[in-house]
C-alpha cells in the first residue's frame, strides 16, 4: 500500500507537485496518469525517498521508504531504464544490486529468466535496446520479491511481444496480492493493464477511481448516422431532445440511443446508410478531463 498525503514538492520557484493525496492499494494494477510534466516522476521519487518533499509525506506500508536501511525487499522500482552503466553486463548490474541487499546469485539468474534476458545475461548493457533495458529494470525491481512495485513508463521501447508480456506480468503481480503502481502518459496503455487510475495534471489530483468510472466520466455515447436526408432526420432528432452536429452526409447524435435514432428514422420514413454507436475511448475521456482541468487552472490565474 502506498499513501501520498498532502504532498507538495517545489524545485526552486517551480511547483512540481501541489498538495497531492491518494492511496494505491494492494491486489490491483493502479495506473498513474498525466500529461508530460504533470509531476508523476517527481511523485515516484518522493515515494522512494530520493527527493525530500517540501511539505506532506509519502509512505509505503505505513512507513517512510527512506527510513529502511535496505530497500529491495520493500519496494521494487524502475524509474528510468536508461539509468544503468553501459559498461557492465546485465548479470554484473543485478549481482551488485542483489548483493547490496543480501540477496544471492541464484535469485539473479531467476529474475533474468523471468524477464527473458538469460541469453543476454553476459552482454554489456550499453549494447541493449531500450526494450531490453526495460526488461533489465523490471528484473532489478523483482530481485527482492517486494510487496510493492513501481514502474515509470515501463512500456517505452518495447516490441509488441514485450508489451503483451509486461501486461501479463503486471496483472500476475497484482493477482499475487502486490501493489503495482504504473505511470504512463499514454492512456491507451492503461486501458489494457490497469484496474484503478490516479490521474494528475500540473501536479494536482484530477481523479483517483476505478478505470471504468473514469472512462464513464468522459463524453457520453455518440451515435453516427449516415443518411441522404440529413435535414429531415436532424429536425426529428432535435425535436426528440438530442444534440445533433450536422455534416453534409452524416449526423453526430448525442443524448439518444441507436435504437431510438433508428425508430425515429423509421417513423419519419428516412433512408439510413449507417447507424453506429461510438463509445468514448479512455484516451478521449483522458484528453477531455485533463484538458478541462488545464483550462480551469489557466483561467484561475
Amino acid at each position: 500500500m502506498i499513501e501520498v498525503i498532502g504532498l507538495t514538492k517545489r524545485y526552486g520557484g517551480k511547483t512540481a507537485v501541489d498538495d497531492l493525496s491518494f492511496t494505491v492499494r494492494p491486489g490491483h494494477v493502479t495506473g498513474f496518469l498525466g500529461p508530460n510534466g504533470a509531476g508523476k516522476t517527481t511523485t515516484l521519487r518522493v515515494i522512494l525517498g530520493l527527493d525530500a518533499p517540501t511539505s506532506g509525506a509519502a509512505t509505503v506500508g505505513g512507513v517512510l521508504f527512506g527510513s529502511h536501511r535496505r530497500g529491495l525487499h520493500h519496494v521494487g522500482a524502475l524509474l528510468d531504464a536508461q539509468q544503468v552503466h553501459g559498461g557492465r553486463s546485465a548479470t554484473a548490474h543485478l549481482t551488485a544490486l542483489a548483493r547490496s541487499n543480501g540477496i544471492g546469485r541464484r535469485r539473479v539468474a531467476e529474475v533474468l529468466a523471468e524477464v527473458g534476458l538469460t541469453d543476454a545475461a553476459h552482454r554489456r548493457v550499453g549494447g541493449f535496446s531500450l526494450g531490453m533495458k526495460q526488461r533489465l529494470g523490471i528484473a532489478a525491481a523483482l530481485l527482492g520479491d517486494p510487496p510493492v512495485l513501481m514502474f515509470d513508463e515501463p512500456i517505452n521501447g518495447m516490441d509488441p511481444e514485450g508489451v503483451r508480456w509486461v501486461r501479463h506480468l503486471f496483472r500476475r503481480l497484482a493477482a499475487e496480492g502486490r501493489t503495482v503502481f504504473l505511470s504512463s502518459h499514454l492512456m491507451t496503455e492503461m486501458e489494457h493493464t490497469a484496474d484503478h487510475l490516479v490521474v494528475i495534471g500540473q501536479g494536482r489530483l484530477i481523479a483517483a477511481e476505478p478505470l471504468r468510472v473514469f472512462a464513464d466520466r468522459g463524453t457520453r455515447r455518440r451515435v453516427t448516422v449516415r443518411t441522404p436526408q440529413t435535414a429531415v432526420l436532424a429536425a426529428a432528432l432535435t425535436a426528440a431532445g438530442a444534440t445533433v452536429d450536422t455534416a453534409p452526409d452524416h449526423l453526430a447524435v448525442r443524448g439518444l440511443s441507436a435504437e431510438r435514432v433508428g425508430a425515429l428514422a423509421f417513423t419519419n420514413a428516412v433512408e439510413l446508410h449507417e447507424l453506429t454507436t461510438r463509445t468514448t475511448s479512455l484516451e478521449e475521456a483522458f484528453m477531455e478531463i485533463t484538458a478541462g482541468h488545464a483550462d480551469h487552472l489557466a483561467g484561475s490565474r
Binding site: A52, L72, H73, H74, H85, G87, S100, A140
Partner: protein, 280 residues
C-alpha cells in the same frame, strides 16, 4: 519466481542489513568494468617505467658526477620516486576515485542504487572502503616496484640504497599511501560536486596546480604549501633536508604524515553529510 503470499512473511524473510554486503556490492561494481584492471595496470607500468628511466639516466651519467655525488649517491631515492610518475599516479587515482561516484550521477544509476539502499551514507562509506583497499594494494605494488626496479639499475653502479634503510622504508610507505589518499580525495569531490568534468578539473587543480602556487621562502606561504598532499609526499620521500632558517621553511616528517592522513578523513565528513541531505 517465488509466489508472494503475505507482506509480513516476505518482510520477515528479508536478510539483515550488513555493511560487508555493501562493500561486496561496490567491489563487484568496480571490477565488472573493463577499465578498472586496464587503468590500474597501465598506471603501475607507467610509474615503474618512469622510475626505470630516471635510474637509467643517472646510471648513464654516473661517470661524469663529482666524486662526492658518486659516494653519497643522493639521487638514488629520487630516481625511485620520480615526480612525473607519481604526479600522474595522483591524477589517475583521483580520477578513478571520482568516477566511482560521478559515473553513478552521470548515468542516473545513483537513483537505482539509492532506492536499493536508502542508507546513503553507508553507500559512500562502502565505496570509500573499496577505493581505499584497491588503491592501497595498487600503491604498494607501484611503490615497491618503482623502488626495486630503480635500485636494481643503480646497483650496477653500486649506487643503490637498501629498502631496509629507515628513510627508504618511509619513502616507500608514503608513496604507497599517496594513491589511496588521492583516490579518496577524488571520491569525496565526486560526492560533493557530482558533475564529472567539474570534479576532474577541481581534482587536478587541487592536487597538481595549487601546490605550485606556494613558495617555500615565505613562512605563511610555505606553511599553506605543507598542507598539500603532493608536497607532504615529496617531504616524506626526501632523505635529507637542511634545517629551517629564515627564508627556508621545510615541513616536518610528522606534519607530512598527518596531512596525508587528514585529507580523506576530513573530506569524508562533508561528503556523507551532503549525500544524506540532498535530493538524488
Amino acid at each position: 519466481m517465488t509466489m508472494y503470499a503475505h507482506p509480513t512473511a516476505a518482510r520477515a524473510a528479508a536478510p539483515r542489513a550488513r555493511f560487508t554486503d555493501l562493500v561486496a556490492a561496490e567491489w563487484i561494481k568496480l571490477w565488472s568494468l573493463r577499465s578498472t584492471p586496464w587503468t590500474l595496470g597501465l598506471a603501475t607500468l607507467f610509474v615503474v617505467g618512469a622510475a626505470a628511466l630516471a635510474a637509467k639516466a643517472d646510471y648513464d651519467n654516473f661517470p661524469f658526477y663529482e666524486p662526492e655525488a658518486q659516494r653519497e649517491h643522493m639521487f638514488s631515492l629520487g630516481d625511485a620516486f620520480p615526480q612525473e610518475g607519481y604526479l600522474t599516479l595522483m591524477l589517475v587515482a583521483a580520477s578513478l576515485g571520482a568516477l566511482t561516484m560521478v559515473s553513478e550521477y552521470g548515468s542516473g544509476l545513483i537513483r537505482t542504487t539509492t532506492a536499493a539502499v536508502p542508507a546513503r551514507g553507508a553507500v559512500v562509506l562502502a565505496k570509500a572502503v573499496v577505493t581505499a583497499a584497491v588503491w592501497s594494494m595498487a600503491g604498494v605494488v607501484v611503490a615497491v616496484g618503482s623502488f626495486t626496479v630503480s635500485q636494481a639499475i643503480l646497483a650496477g653502479r653500486d649506487a643503490a640504497v637498501s629498502i631496509s634503510d629507515p628513510v627508504s622504508l618511509r619513502a616507500v610507505a608514503a608513496s604507497a599511501l599517496l594513491a589511496p589518499v588521492c583516490a579518496l580525495i577524488g571520491l569525496c569531490l565526486g560526492v560533493l560536486i557530482r558533475h564529472a568534468a567539474t570534479t576532474m578539473v577541481t581534482g587536478a587543480f587541487l592536487l597538481l596546480m595549487l601546490p605550485t602556487m606556494f613558495s617555500s621562502d615565505k613562512r605563511w606561504s610555505a606553511e599553506l604549501g605543507h598542507l598539500m598532499p603532493g608536497i607532504a609526499w615529496n617531504r616524506l620521500t626526501t632523505d635529507w633536508m637542511p634545517p629551517p632558517h629564515p627564508g627556508y621553511y621545510p615541513a616536518t616528517v610528522t606534519e607530512s604524515w598527518l596531512v596525508l592522513a587528514a585529507w580523506p578523513l576530513v573530506l569524508l565528513i562533508p561528503a556523507i553529510l551532503a549525500v544524506r541531505r540532498r535530493d538524488v
